[in-house]
């Protein structure tokens, strides 16, 4: 025992700490490997095969990808999904406006916050049925109200041109999640900045555009990425309400993937679609992250 043993003890301690750390993380690592990594690698393999579950997979090389490139419904489903992702900026704007309103000191503020968050808790299948009723072309609440003010309401889920806008409208109902994130970030903005601006005679709009929005950019960045990832995986609403119609106008990418896998027994083609979707979402996310340095401001540190 002496000074020369202290570095060895330190190393043994560090090794022990590392082992303990990994042991604690082991359940998560095992779960990640079994439920994320393995299916991901298996998916890549199956995308190069013809596989109907019941028979062993047969290697077909890039045949699935080639067929998809020539499949008009593949491209239509991609177009439908990109169209639907227009819900994301709309959700962000509404969530932001709601957060600004709910940040005001008014009576019943807590109840209003709860009320606007509640739709997020409604299961998607239940809300799909609800909106199916509300937007029923001939008997729904929305068209009945429109008719009272002299407007012949559109077909909504029955119309090729209105079906996606109907789903986008439905999507704006669940902005509560993004709203909460904005609200939390708003409350982190130091009051002194507003006070200093007020002393310099800043108007409400100047404060909004020069203090609030810049300091909200991290939350906007987060909500934008999460929103894009979620919108590209839209499925339940179309599955419950329209089954991809009318005229395939709501056949979204994941719905078509599901049909290929479970209705047409084409697991290989569905796996190819899954890999393409991963690449598309990854590319878009990477683009947003790379551009973030130009427009996302982190508090007290300028841009990151």
């Amino acid at each position: 025992m002496g000074r020369e043993n202290k570095p060895k003890m330190k190393m043994r301690n560090r090794t022990r700490e590392a082992v303990e750390g990994y042991l604690f993380a082991l359940p998560w690592l095992v779960g990640l490997s079994i439920f994320i990594l393995y299916p991901f690698i298996a998916n890549i393999f199956y995308s190069f095969t013809e596989y109907n579950i019941i028979e062993p997979p047969v290697w077909v090389g890039i045949d699935n990808y080639r067929v998809l490139m020539h499949d008009s419904l593949f491209w239509k489903s991609l177009y439908n999904t990109i169209y639907y992702s227009a819900v994301v900026p709309l959700q962000l704007i509404i969530a932001l406006l709601l957060a600004l309103l709910l940040n005001q000191k008014v009576k019943g503020q807590r109840y209003f916050r709860t009320l606007f968050y509640l739709p997020v808790l409604v299961p998607l299948v239940a809300s799909s049925i609800l909106w199916q009723w509300m937007l029923s072309p001939n008997y729904g609440l929305v068209n009945s109200l429109l008719y009272k003010i002299g407007i012949n309401g559109p077909g909504w889920f029955a119309s090729e041109s209105w079906s996606k806008p109907a789903l986008i409208l439905m999507g704006t109902w669940t902005v509560g999640g993004a709203m909460i994130i904005f609200l939390a970030t708003l409350q982190d903005i130091p009051r002194v900045l507003y006070e200093a601006a007020e002393m310099d005679g800043a108007t409400v709009f100047k404060k909004l555009f020069h203090i609030t929005l810049p300091l909200l950019t991290p939350a906007i960045f987060f909500n934008l990425i999460m929103g894009i990832i979620a919108s590209f995986q839209v499925f339940t609403q179309a599955y419950v309400i329209t089954d991809g119609g009318p005229m395939y106008s709501t056949t979204f990418y994941v719905l078509y993937l599901y049909n290929n896998a479970f209705r047409f027994f084409r697991m290989g083609r569905a796996s190819a679609m899954a890999l393409i979707l991963f690449i598309v979402i990854f590319t878009i996310t990477l683009f947003i992250v790379k551009t973030a340095s130009k427009w996302v401001y982190y508090e007290a540190g300028g841009r990151k």
Partner: protein, 440 residues
Amino acid sequence: MKKRVVSFLVVLVICGLTVFSLASANGNAAVKINYWFSWGGFWGKQHQEILSAFNKTHPEIKVTGLTVPYNEMIPKLLTAIAAGAPPDMVTIFGGTNAGLYEKMFTRLDDFVKQNEETMGPQNWFPGVLEYVKFEGKLYGLPWVSSSEGLFYRVDLLREAGLDPQNPPKYWRDLEVASEKLTKKNEQGQITTLGFLFPGDIRTFDTNWVPYWFYRNNGRLWDPEKKKMTLTDPENIETLEWLASWARKNGPEEIERFLVSAEAVNPEMEGWFEQGKLAMTVSGPWSIGHITENAPNTDYDVTMVPYPESGKPVTTNYIDAMYIPRGNKNLQEAWTFISWMATEGTTIWSTKFGEVPARYDVAASPDFEKMSRYDLFKKIAVDYHKYGKASLPGFPIRTILRDQATRYYQQVMHLKMSPKDALEELQVVMQKELDKFYEKR
């Protein structure tokens, strides 16, 4: 303290082992078999009662039923078979790819040979066994069949100046009646639809839509030559007639009508009773629904119309029972499936007015206790004689449904001519069919 904890744990383990072994001992008296089906809620409970009836009369076998939602049945079943843990028996609504039968299900020909008198083909209505065969080999037994008639509102026909005693017999009669019976409001929305096709204008459902072609002497494929025959002149003529119905009513207005109806009830039950649908093709299950919900509905049933140069044909779409491959209790599963095909289905069909697939079941006097037995007999027995299997033995039914729907929608939304649609579909489907047979 430590000793007490250890003693407690030892006692707990001993108790647990005792309970487990007792349970196992009781369980060993009967062979347990699992059975999957898609009836849920009220129907699921009713179906479980049939299983209880079997278990009472067969103490050596214990059947446990599980409801698997319809949309999940095939994927779940495929996964279970691939994993080597399939249910011992399964009931599937409608058909799936016959080309998969030999991979998915146990062949039943030997069992049928051993029980020729009760299970031989002479016991079943025409065509029903075709649904559970592939290349002549039997893979399942029918649970119930179907048959259809044209349901029509007597009062609405009278109001429109039509004679309810002479309901539509041919396609041209159907067209005239449909036009007179369709009503629209001041916004141009359909408030009463004169006639609705099954499959409407969206889906080429292979259980229903092919029958319009059969009525016009058409067929969709030649099983001997393994060739699609979609472009035969009779088929083009049929699709043109279907499109003319869409043209007269307007595809957008039909969509609005359908979507509005489905928001209230996905199966559109009740619309005929409410007078929103004046005529529709349906089966005996609608009789039970009308009797229960709107017994004063003034209606009758006739044969589904056909062209004057054609012939009467009715569906005999079945729900079928299968024994998946990899089953470890084959004899018990066969005992159960054969009981279900005879006694089980008799209990069910007589209670709910389903169309029997077997002659002996159809002869059960319990059917006569049904309300409106006169209509039930017309559809389930008289019209059933004109039954024809839809695409029997067609190996890639789901692919046909997918591809044909793409063209069918275009035609019914007046965006493509029937001739062009069938020509393109012919090329696509022949390629898929050739691919299937090349792999075999």
